[in-house]
Subunit: 359 residues, 2 copies
C-alpha cells in the first residue's frame, strides 16, 4: 500500500510577519481557502487515505497539524521534540510506516510547496510506485527543470535514461550537487543535464531504512529503540528522550548522494517551493505599475513592489520602488526586495528587542 | 481686554494615516499628552481666560473642538459651514469679539504650531499688545528668522526699525512676498532682511474690520449681516446661509499686503508649523542609524528614514532608506521621503478606490 509522509517541520521566518513561531508557512492560507499543508494532503488524497497519511512536525506545531488535518488519526501526527533535519525525520516516519506494513511504499512531501496541476503530479507518483514495484530497491526523486541559476537549491545531474513500467522515461542519477555558487549554477542551467531537487521522494519504507543503515549506521542505531515502540503507548516518551540525540543531517547528504539506486523523474507539473515573499508575489496578480498586490492597497507612483495587506487593513504606497510591504497581525514589514534574504536575522532580533510577542 | 482666536480649520491630509477627515492634525496628540489645539490654548492661557478664547473651525471638527477645549463656552466655538480661507475667518472672529468688547485686542493663532518656550512667546504677545495700545491702528505680525530657503511659506521684508513701548525693537514692513520659487527663497535667506510669516497676528478687532472694509469692501459687506446676529440665537442659521458665499482669500493677500500699518516682531522663540511627517520627525529622537522612530519599531540595515508605529503595533524595516513609514488606525503609509508632498493626492484618491473608510 502507498503511505504519504508530509514533512511539516519548517519554522518559517521567511513569511514574517504573516508566519509566526506558532504558525509557520505550512499552516497558513497563502493561496485560496485552505492552508498549504491542507493542500499538500489534498493533493495526494486520491491515492492515500487519511489513515495512511503521516505528518512529521515540531512540538509547537502539532496542535495546528491536528486541527488542520482533522481526518488524520492522532497517532499519525509525529511531533519531533527537537528538529533533527530530514534524515532523522524520514527515518522516523519510515520506521512507523514499516511497522504497520512491511511492504509499504511511501511518498515523502514537504508541506509547503505549490504544485499544479494535481493530475500530472498524481501521474508522476503512479510512475514512481510502479517503478518501485518493479525494482524495490529504487529511491525515486522528482526533479524540476531549472528556469534560473538558483543558488538556494540542490541539483541532480541526470544519468542514463530508461523506460519506466508506465512507458515514460526515467533517469538514473549521475550525481547530487548541493547548493552551488552562481557560476556553477549557471553552468548547470546551460548544460541541460541538471534538475532541481524538489525534496519529494518515493521509496519502500524498508528500503530507505536499509539505506540509512548502510550509509549512516549511527543514525539507524539511534532510531532503532524509538521505532521499537512505534504505535505503542510509550512511543511519545521514548521519542522525547531519544530523538533529540539523533544526528542532524539532510536525507540528501546522508543517503541520496551515496546510494547507487537513486532514480529521477522529471516533473511534468508546475512547481514552486514559495521560498519567500518574492516567490509568492510571482503567483499574485500585478497592478498596472507592475506591483504585486493582495488585500486593501492603494499605490501612487510606486513600481516593482509587493504590497500585501491583511485583516481589512490598508497599505498605501507613495513613490516607492522595489519594496516588500506586508501588514499582518499588528506588524508591518517594510523591506528592500533584494535584501529579503536577511529577514531571518531581523525576525531573530525580535526577542532581543523585547518584541517576542511578534515572533 | 485681550481675546484669542484659534484658527482650527485645517483638513490635515498631511499627517495621514494618523490624521483623518474627522481628526485633522490640530486635534491630534503629536507631542506629549495633549493635542495641538490644547497646547495652543494652553500657551495663551496665562493672558486669556477661556471665556475670551474663540475657536474657528469646520463643521466636521466643531465637536472635537468642544470636547478638547471643555472650558471654552460653546458660543465661542465658531463652526464655519464651508471653508472660506483666513480673511473670512478672521473677519468673522473679529466681528464677534468687537460685538462683545469694542475696544478688544485679539491675537490670531493657527491651532497646529509648535512654539517653545512659552514664556518668550507670551513676552512677544505683551510687546504686541502694548504697541497696539500706543498705536491702535497697528497690525502686528510675528516673523520667524528663516533657517532654509523654504518655498512653502510667505516672507516678510523688514523695513525701518523702531523701539516698542517694551523697549525692544520692532520693524515696519517693507513688503509681503507670497511663496517664492527656490532661487528667490535663497536670495531672501541670504539677504538677512526677510522673515517667515508665521501666521500669528495681533490687532484691535475693530482695526482689522476697518482694514477689511478698506481693502476688501465686498467681503466686509458679506460679513455685516452675519455679524449683526453675533451671539444671538439666530447666529448659526445666518452663518449657515451666508458664510459660504463670502470671498475666499487669505488675510495676508486681502489686507496685510496692502495696509500701511503692518509691523513685524521677530519671534524670540522656537517655532515649527510641523507641516508634514518630515517636520515632525525633526522633533523625534534618532536611532543609531539616523532614523527617527516612535512607538514599537525594529530596524535592520535601514537609514535616513522615519518609522512611526501606533496602538501597540510593530513597524519592522529591512534594508530601506529615506522612507516614511507610519502605521495608525489600521492603515500603513509607506512613502519615499522626498515625495511626501504628493500625500494629499494619495489621500484624495482613497474615495475613488472605495477606501473612504480610511480617509
Amino acid at each position: 500500500m502507498l503511505y504519504a509522509v508530509i514533512m511539516a517541520g519548517g519554522s518559517g521566518t521567511r513569511f514574517w510577519p504573516k508566519s509566526r513561531r506558532q504558525s509557520p508557512k505550512q499552516f497558513l492560507r497563502l493561496f485560496g481557502e485552505t492552508t498549504m499543508i491542507q493542500q499538500t494532503a489534498g493533493r495526494i488524497a486520491p491515492m492515500v487515505d487519511p489513515s495512511r497519511l503521516l505528518v512529521v512536525t515540531g512540538l509547537d506545531q502539532a496542535e495546528s497539524a491536528r486541527a488542520q488535518l482533522a481526518d488524520v488519526p492522532a497517532a499519525n501526527i509525529l511531533a519531533e521534540p527537537a528538529p533533527r533535519d530530514t534524515a532523522a525525520c524520514v527515518g522516523l516516519a519510515a520506521g512507523v510506516v514499516a511497522a504497520r506494513d512491511p511492504e509499504a511504499v511511501m511518498i515523502v512531501m514537504p508541506a509547503d510547496h505549490v504544485i499544479e496541476p494535481q493530475a500530472r503530479f498524481l501521474e508522476t507518483v503512479e510512475d514512481a510506485v510502479s517503478l518501485i514495484q518493479a525494482e524495490p530497491l529504487s529511491l525515486v526523486t522528482f526533479g524540476i527543470r531549472p528556469t534560473r541559476p538558483e543558488t538556494g537549491y540542490g541539483y541532480i545531474e541526470q544519468g542514463d535514461e530508461f523506460v519506466m513500467p508506465s512507458g515514460r522515461i526515467g533517469r538514473c542519477v549521475a550525481q547530487f550537487r548541493e547548493k552551488p555558487n552562481l557560476e556553477t549554477a549557471r553552468s548547470f542551467l546551460d548544460s541541460g543535464r541538471f534538475l532541481w531537487n524538489s525534496g519529494i521522494f518515493v521509496w519502500r519504507a524498508r528500503t530507505i531504512l536499509d539505506e540509512i543503515k548502510a550509509h549512516r549506521p549511527g543514525l539507524h542505531e539511534g532510531l532503532a529503540p524509538i521505532l521499537a515502540h512505534a504505535d505503542s503507548p510509550s512511543f511519545g516518551q521514548v521519542l522525547a528522550e531519544r530523538f533529540p540525540q539523533l544526528e542532524r543531517v539532510p536525507i540528501d547528504r546522508a543517503v541520496l548522494e551515496r546510494s547507487a539506486h537513486v532514480k529521477v523523474i522529471e516533473a511534468p507539473y508546475q512547481w514552486s517551493d514559495v521560498g519567500d515573499w518574492r516567490a509568492l508575489a510571482e503567483l499574485l496578480e500585478l497592478d498596472s505599475a507592475g506591483n504585486a498586490v493582495f488585500g486593501r492597497t492603494l499605490t501612487h507612483g510606486s513600481t516593482g513592489s509587493i504590497f500585501i495587506s491583511e485583516e481589512g487593513g490598508l497599505v498605501a504606497a507613495l513613490g516607492v520602488e522595489d519594496l516588500v510591504v506586508v501588514q499582518s497581525q499588528g506588524a508591518v514589514l517594510v523591506a528592500r526586495k533584494e535584501r529579503l534574504d536577511e529577514l531571518k536575522a531581523l525576525v531573530e532580533g525580535l526577542g532581543k528587542a523585547g518584541l517576542q510577542a511578534f515572533s
